[in-house]
Amino acid sequence: MKFFLKILKDFPAYLWSGWGAVASILLFIAFWDVGNQIYGNLVLPSPLETFKTLYAMLHSKDILEQIDITLYRASVGFGLSLLFGSVLGLIAGFFATASMMSRPIVTILVGMPPIAWIVLAMIWFGMGDETVIFTVVVASFPIIFVGALQGTRTLDGELKEMADSFAFPWHMKFIDVYFPHIFSYIFPAWVSGLGMAWKIVIMAELLATSDGMGAELAIARSQLDTPTALALVTIMIGSLMFIEYIILEPIKREVELWRV
């Protein structure tokens, strides 16, 4: 509880420190605008036009439904990877044999291009939710698994010994000794897993389904509707930035405070 209060207390200052980031994004948009002036509206619509399209989109019920579908797929896929990745990774980390065995398998999983997984999934599951969710799981599970594995593998033996010699009760050992260390590994893995899930869900939808934001993007492409395509991209980037910088980063800062 105290932990969350501290995050809330630091939140305004954290938010205010984002002005520098806003400035650099705006400079990037200026650069985009120059691109529009050089290459024309068809190739690269102006930022202002894109944002106007975006505004109109966010007021249309149809698009909101599509966003909803995509969100559902991404969160189920990411939720499954989070659960299995964390649990299996933690367990594997405690046993040297298990971690030794899992290494090459993870390498295979990570090394296989997601686009290949999509093809396989389309054969296995057909065109629908399952294909997309499966691809998301396959892509983000290894990342989280490795993070959790590293977290338990690198636990400091001396700290463990100290905790033992002070005869800490098990819950104290877990909360004060193991948890902060493991969390500082697993949390960044969750963040990258989420980023991966959000990117893969769009790609899978674009290739394998007829609804969701990825499918909308495919339609925009076939109609050469660049403003809509860019507006969709803006929604994706915007939502990812919101989750990463507004929700996860403040937690991460608080969690990793002990490191400095």
Binding site: W16, S17, W19, A23, S24, L27, A30, D33, Q37, P47
Partner: protein, 414 residues
């Protein structure tokens, strides 16, 4: 001995050597004193004169373009005074070997500044050449005075010197265009000058901020340290410079609108330094005052960006007052107040007067800057914003003139 020397290097002790000139009157005992004694009344007088000129009661033809010369004077005429106060007070402190400028030499320089102002208001009689020569000489002298900063091996504060050189070049360019030696549009040159001056103020504010905020915390026994991070200031300077250069060549381009928005955001970003690790200082009056300088600059650039994106030329010129009357005005006022307390041997104090001074500048800025939203009241807003903007300097005369006219109360010379 070494202990004493160390103590003298401390920021509030100002200098290692003081010139041994006899009978220096208090108002010439240190660089800032005569400047502030003249600058506060000059702000009031010139606003009154402009009011009379704009409303048509007073006819000063100003060659052919009153607006252009109004901008010139409010930028360059005032700038030399502000820069002089900043340099003559700050440099002996940053470079302890430097001898402060006092007494007769100070008097001559002040006469040069006054001559510059008189020649400006009589420009139709005395001609552009005299104004150009007097004002350029003043700025050139300031750069000469600050040469140690540029020649300093460590280059700690060299950016101030280089920016001054750029401003000098822009002023030469302005006069060249007025005299027909250059094809450039003189109004566009003034916009370039504004950009260069904002850069100079941002550089100077980084130093003023560090000194004022840390002095304040020391006074209030707040155990923390405030550091103004160079990358934030540099980002703001980069954005403002880009805006100024692109704005000169493509004043209505939509990309310029985005750059202006970026400039605004990057200037506001500087305020995130006020967020210290352990202590909360944003409830301290001086921190709030200084905070508003950046907010006004930031709002100005942001609103200008918005107007450029939506093709509102009227908005651009109105919102520019957030930068000029607001940001620059408050920056000058804060330099006047801070130096007025600390360098007359007093603690940095806030009271009802300082609150009102800052409040009126901010109020005047909003009244002047937001005229596009209240067109039907524009006449009243012009008048009342001018009055509100002058009030802080009236209060300055009331509070600070007795400090400026009497010796330091801690017995130190200067």
């Amino acid at each position: 001995m070494s202990n004493q020397k160390e103590e003298k290097l401390h920021a509030t002790n100002h200098y290692l050597y003081y010139p041994d000139e006899e009978d220096i009157p208090p108002y010439l005992a240190y660089g800032f004193r005569p400047i502030f004694l003249l600058l506060a009344p000059y702000f009031i007088l010139s606003m009154a004169l402009w009011g009379l000129v704009w409303s048509g009661y007073l006819s000063i033809p100003f060659i052919d373009n009153v607006l252009q010369w109004h901008i010139y004077e409010m930028l360059f005429g005032v700038l030399t005074a502000g820069v002089m106060a900043f340099l003559t007070t700050g440099l002996p402190e940053l470079f302890p070997g430097m001898v402060p400028l006092v007494g007769k030499r100070l008097k001559y320089i002040m006469i040069l500044w006054i001559a510059g102002r008189v020649s400006f208001w009589l420009i139709d009689i005395t001609g552009v050449y005299l104004t150009a020569i007097l004002n350029l000489t003043m700025l050139a002298w300031l750069i000469w005075f600050a040469k140690d900063v540029v020649l300093d091996k460590l280059q700690r504060h060299a950016s101030l010197g280089y920016t001054l050189v750029v401003i000098f070049a822009v002023e030469v360019w302005f006069f060249a265009s007025v005299l027909g030696w250059s094809e450039s549009n003189s109004m566009s040159i003034l916009r370039v000058a504004l950009g260069a001056i904002v850069v100079l103020i941002l550089l100077a504010m980084r130093r003023v901020n560090m000194e004022a905020v840390n002095e304040l915390m020391e006074d209030k026994e707040i155990d923390d340290i405030y550091i103004s991070h160079p990358p934030l200031t540099n980002l703001a300077i980069f954005a403002v410079t880009l805006y100024t250069i692109v704005g000169y060549f493509y004043p209505t381009n939509s990309a310029l609108g985005w750059i202006a928005l970026a400039s605004g955001a990057s200037i506001i970003a500087i305020t995130s330094d006020y967020n210290l690790k352990d202590k909360f200082i944003l409830n301290q009056p001086y921190v709030i005052y200084l905070f508003w300088i950046f907010m006004l600059f930031g709002l100005g650039y942001g609103l200008i960006g918005w107007s450029i994106l939506f093709n509102d030329a009227n908005g651009v010129s109105s919102f520019r007052h957030f930068i000029t009357a607001g940001g620059l005005g408050l920056a000058y006022l804060m330099v006047m107040i801070t130096i007025g307390w600390i360098h007359t041997g007093r603690h940095l104090t806030s009271n009802i007067y300082t609150h009102f001074m800052v409040f009126f500048i901010v109020l005047a800025t909003f009244m002047r800057g937001l005229i596009p939203f209240f067109e039907e009241y524009s006449t009243q807003l012009y008048l009342w914003s001018a009055i509100a903007w002058v009030l802080p300097f009236v209060l300055y005369i009331k509070v600070f003139f007795r400090f400026l006219l009497t010796p330091r109360i801690d017995g130190i010379k200067g």
